[in-house]
């Protein structure tokens, strides 16, 4: 079972993770990744935009691919859209499995694909001006590891 959410309001990763682990007592291990807005570099705010008809359906497809590839008890994918401040959570991925290697790999794969294939566009505000963030070459290299 996979829980996939696209949120336009802040969320509490600790609370989400506690709920997820409580729902999967049969799992021997839970691996989670939290991405947050990086402080520093003069960044005052970060905004993620999405395209309603594509973004959530593609996140659900990704979750299905992850579940098909590894033996998981549960998968949690939460991604923010909208404006965020430094320190705010952006993305939370958690994989629950009987064996830890499946959980590590599933969370890693899900994050690499969320970063480079999901329908989100990011811009940063610094010194009062917004600037769109272009994809990084490293993100494409990260995703190539799985092919």
């Amino acid at each position: 079972m996979a829980l996939v959410q696209l949120l336009v309001h802040p969320f509490d990763p600790a609370e989400e993770l506690a709920r997820f682990t409580a729902a999967h007592p049969e799992a021997g291990g839970v691996v989670s990744f939290l991405g947050q807005v990086r402080a520093g570099g003069g960044v005052e705010a970060l905004e993620l935009r999405h395209y309603e008809p594509l973004t959530l359906p593609a996140m659900r497809d990704l979750a299905e691919r992850v579940k098909a590839r590894w033996d998981l008890d549960g998968l949690l994918v939460i991604h923010r859209s909208g404006e965020m401040a430094p320190g705010d959570p952006i993305v939370l991925v958690a994989a629950a499995a009987r064996h830890r290697r499946d959980a590590f790999a599933a969370a890693d794969f899900a994050m690499d694909h969320l970063k480079s294939e999901s329908w989100f566009w990011k811009r940063e505000k610094a010194a009062g001006a917004w600037r769109w963030v272009e994809p990084r070459e490293e993100d494409f290299q990260d995703i190539a590891r799985w092919q």
């Binding site: 993620l48 952006i90 993305v91 989100f120 994809p135």
Partner: protein
Amino acid sequence: MALKLLFLGRLEDLAGGGERSVPLAESIDAVLAGLDARLAEALRAPRVKVAVNGVLLRDRQAQALGDGDEIAFLPPVSGG
């Protein structure tokens, strides 16, 4: 008779807004021909994907357009 164009990500800055309405045209090429040359060139880039009414196009030449269609131009993503 009109089409709704959506410009995602940095294309919004180039287009001067996230969406605009244009007169109905029969193809994506015809829509682009009616736009400012610099914007049209950016929208023709192979890395810019096109969705019509929320469905990604595999072949943008083949798509016939109808009144009220929503055409979204999607530049390379930068998520997470």
